[in-house]
Every structure is written in C-alpha cells, then in structure tokens.
C-alpha cells in the first residue's frame, strides 16, 4: 500500500517527475535569450511569471479555471448518467445492441471536435452547445464501460440468480449492477480526463470568452503570448492533478474487484 512508502521514496518520485519539465524550462530560457527572434518565439520566463502574477492577483485566472472545471464536471455528470443508461440498454439487450450498436460505434469514431460545426449549426454556440460537446466526451467511454461491465457478469452468478428464482429487477440490482460497478466507475474516472480536454476545446471552438480556453483565446487576440503560456500551463497542471486524483480513486475501486 502507498501509505507504507517512506517519505524518501515519495520525495524521490516527485523529484524525478519534475526533472524533465525543469530541464525544458531551462532550455526555454536559453532559447528566449538568443537574439531578438528568440524572445519573440519563446516568451521569456520572467514575463510569463509576471503575467501569471497579474491574472492570479486579479482573480481572473481563478475565475476562468473554476469556470472550465464547472463545465467539465457538469458535462461529466450529464454524460455519465446518459452513458450508464444507454450502456445498460446495449449491455442487457441483444436486440438493442444489434440495433443501436453500429450507429453508436460509428459516431464514436468521429472526433468530437469534428462534430462541433454540426452542433454549432443546430444549437448555436452558447452554454448549451458547449455542455453537449463536453457531455458527449463523457458519454462514449461511460456507455462503453457500462455495456462491457454488464456483459462480463459471471455465468456462475447468473445461474445463481436463476436458482434463487430472482426476478429481472432483482437480478439487475443485486447481481448485474454490482458486478458491473467497478467497470462503470473506471469508465467515469477515465471520462473525466476527456471532459477536461473537451471543455477547453469547446471553449476554443465556440469562441467563448470565459474558461481557460476562452482566456487563452482572448490573450492571443490581445497579443499577450505570456498569458497564452500561462493558460496552457494552467490547463496542463490542473489536468494532471485531476489525473492523479482519478488514478488514486481508480485504484481503490479496483481493490474491491481484486478482492473478489
């Protein structure tokens, strides 16, 4: 268990993790010093730091970060609920699978961003359209995980349900759903990463003015490359932190499975 790891090992891991970013930062710094073109292509780190402090103090960065986070989580919620419902239909009914499966899998191949023009045409480019894109990002992986989870229920357990003469609802609630739960949870946790990316992406593609994507677009329009770097770094850092949290949660969910 990770709790037993010594402080030295954890410290060592974090140090190793930072080695490359720090090295890249060093290279960036050197590149920004090479002639007038260098500072143009590679915004000096000092300016980036200055820009960061500027938007951090004004609260703008925090406001935008929270805005994107809120979009991501809302989309995750909506997409997961729809995904579980749809995945349940696919996983439980052969007919439904044959009927809906091909269309679902076909649509899944299209990158979400490719659907944006169509969504923009039908739903405009307001909050609703963005929510739709982000929800779809969560919908696909969760529906897949749910369908797979339901299909892999052990025959032995299904036979037990028959031997105990459990009705359809009881079989679903007592055996199918708990059996599929670890898969569904893993799917939702994975979908979080997708919704984060989809949030920023949809902000950019729908020309939003809020959220980290919107912030980045505004900064670029204003020629503030230092703030663009700040935006990119913020997106990356927040995304990574969520990833770490998700992996930890995922491991706990898996622990249940391995125990069985």
């Amino acid at each position: 268990m990770t709790a037993a790891r010594s402080g030295r090992t954890v410290g060592r891991r974090i140090a190793l993790g930072f080695t490359l970013p720090l090295a890249l930062g060093g290279l960036w710094h050197l590149a920004s010093r090479r002639g007038p073109g260098g500072a143009y292509a590679f915004v000096p780190l000092r300016d980036v730091a200055g820009g960061f402090l500027e938007v951090a103090r004004s609260g703008e960065l925090r406001y935008d970060a929270l805005s994107t986070l809120r979009e991501a989580f809302t989309g995750l919620l909506v997409g997961s609920v729809a995904g579980v419902a749809f995945g349940a239909v696919l996983g439980l009914s052969r007919t439904a699978d044959r009927l809906l499966g091909p269309l679902y899998h076909g649509l899944r191949q299209v990158p979400l961003m490719g659907l944006v023009p169509l969504i923009g045409l039908w739903f405009g480019n307001g909050a609703g359209a963005k929510l739709l894109v982000v929800s779809l990002a969560a919908f696909y992986p969760v529906a897949l995980a749910t369908a797979d989870g339901l299909r892999q229920v052990e025959r032995a357990h299904l036979e037990l349900a028959r031997a105990l003469v459990l009705g359809r609802r009881d079989t679903f609630r007592q055996i199918l759903l708990p059996s599929a739960a670890p898969f569904i949870v893993t799917g939702v946790l994975q979908a979080l990463a997708f919704t984060w990316i989809a949030s920023v992406g949809s902000e950019l593609l729908f020309s939003a003015t809020s959220g980290l994507g919107g912030f980045m677009a505004l900064a670029q329009a204003a020629g503030r490359m230092d703030l663009v770097i700040v935006a990119i770094a913020s997106i990356a850092v927040l995304g990574s932190l969520m990833n770490v949290a998700v992996t930890r949660l995922g491991r706990r969910a898996q622990r249940w499975r391995h125990a069985s």
Partner: protein, 299 residues
C-alpha cells in the same frame, strides 16, 4: 479462531414448518429421462433412460466416472437445464424450472463477493413474502446451523474455502427446501476440510432431514453420508447399481462396515468383482479414503 464449531446440542431446533417453502415431503421421481446435446449437427447423448425413485428425507449420493452425466442429472433436478425426454416430478409436480422448494450447492461457493455473508444468505429469501424480522431470524439461525455465527458481516474473500462452502449450504437451506442438491460440494477443498465438512453435513442432515442428493467423486464420502448410493456408468450415463447403506446415522468414518460397501462400489466403478479376494493381504486399520487404499493394493 476461524473454524469455530458449535456442538449440535446447543443449537435451537429447526424453525416451524410454517416458514417452509414447500410441504413436508420431498420425494423425487425420475422416469425415463434421456438427454443429449446438439453440437453443431452432431448429437452427443449425455443421459440415457434414467429411472430413479428417491424417497423423501433420504440422503442419496450419485457416483460415477467423469462425464457420466451425473452433474447434468443434478441440473435437471434443479431445473437449470431443460430439453430432456422423460419425466421428473417432485411430490407429483413436474419440475420445469428452478424453485424455492429445491436448494442447490455448487462446487464453487458462488457467494456474491460484494455482499456480506448475512446479505448473501438473505438473498435466498428475497422472493419470500416474509417480514424483515423473520428473515433476519432465519439467516441467523442457518448461519448458526453451519457454525458460522459471528461471521455475519464478513465478506466472502475473507473466508476460507470451507467456511465459504458452509455459507453456501446455509444459503441453500434457509428456504427450508424439500430437496437439497449438492454438486460435488467439497471437491474444491483440501482433504482435511473435506472430512470436517462431511461430518458437518451429516449433522445438518440429521437435524433437517430434508431429502439430500449429492453428486460426488469420493466414494468414501458417498458411503459415509448416504442411505443409498446410485452408481452411474457409461457414456452416455445410465443407472448401474443402487447400493443401500443400511446403517443408522451418525456414522463413524472408516468403520469396517462402511469400508465393505466402499469396496463393493469401487469394484463396480473399477469393473472388479464385488466380493473381496481372500488371497489379498488384510487391509488392516481403517483408512480415511478407502479408494486410495484399494487402488494401491490392486496396483
């Protein structure tokens, strides 16, 4: 201590018949049952003209070589498989599907890993219209019967194989079925646990006196527990001999009388004459598994 045992004298008597899923009987009538599987055009016969009458309240074992169809027969009795020729009735009513008047214990315990022992056993009562308090009492009673009181809140993965199988037996009995079906229930357990559980099962049967039908490979186990041992032979499976074990319960493992019958049955299974060969050396002290002994002497 994991393997806590409870002396039978300290257990409460079985619940009143009012909670039984069926009536007191439990006699099974198998008439002319044949079954075959269709493997893509080729027909594989598994059972052929099985005729068997099992009186109520008896402990019956079915032994036979691998592939003789004994597990298939058990599944037909449970109602898990259909599509056979012939007739199977329980107290006159034909068996077409699983029912709460029959309980089954599989070789793998099949306890649901996300539920505690208590919830697992309670699941068997799900389709019974009883008040929650009554269900809780039944669960407690049957967990105590199999010697697992105190482990209600344990999860299956925390238990040993023997304990998990005992919980499975409790689950199969909690509906107080007319018939308990056991499909090689102790096959996956180590030899010592197997012996212990055989004694537990004898004790449980003596208290509940439901009809019990057990499929097993272990002849000693069959002879120790049963009133009647049905020897199946051949592929497809046919009823060979039915050997009575007319000794009262509870029995002593390895007694000479039981060994005698073991020898007879093994002889049938190994295609040997039923009478012992006087020129063979004496078998001496009783052994735990008579089969191993005889096979060693023969070889």
């Amino acid at each position: 201590m994991r393997q806590a045992k409870v002396p039978s004298s300290s257990l409460p008597p079985p619940a009143a018949s009012a909670s039984r899923a069926g009536e007191q009987a439990g006699a099974l009538h198998i008439q002319g049952v044949s079954k075959s599987y269709d493997l893509g055009g080729r027909v594989l016969p598994v059972l052929e003209s099985i005729d068997l009458f099992i009186p109520a309240g008896q402990f019956i074992s079915i032994v036979g070589q691998s592939g003789c169809g004994k597990s298939t027969l058990l599944r037909l009795l449970e109602g898990l498989d259909t599509g056979y020729v012939g007739r199977i009735t329980l107290d006159g009513a034909p068996i077409v599907a699983p029912g709460l008047d029959r309980g089954i214990v599989f070789q793998d315990h099949r306890l649901l890993p996300w539920m505690t022992l208590e919830k697992n056993v309670e699941l068997a009562l799900r389709m019974r219209p009883l008040p929650a308090a009554r269900k809780a009492d039944l669960v407690e009673e049957y967990l105590a019967l199999v010697g697992l009181q105190g482990f209600e809140h344990a999860y299956p993965h925390q238990l040993s194989g023997g304990m998990a199988q005992r919980a499975a037996i409790a689950r199969a009995l909690v509906n107080e079925p007319k018939v308990l079906l056991l499909d090689e229930p102790f096959g996956a357990l180590d030899a010592l646990t197997r012996i212990r559980l055989q004694q537990e099962l004898q004790r449980i049967w003596m208290r509940s006196r439901s009809t019990m039908i057990m499929v097993t490979h272990d002849v000693a186990e069959a002879v120790f527990l049963s009133d009647l041992v049905v020897v199946m032979d051949g592929k497809p499976g046919r009823i060979g001999r039915q050997v009575r074990v007319p000794y009262p319960h509870s029995r002593e493992r390895g007694s000479a009388l039981l060994q005698e019958i073991e020898r007879e049955i093994l002889g049938l299974l190994l295609d040997q004459p039923a009478t012992p060969d006087p020129s063979m050396p004496s078998l001496g002290a009783p052994s735990v598994t008579g089969g191993g002994r005889l096979a060693a002497v023969k070889a």
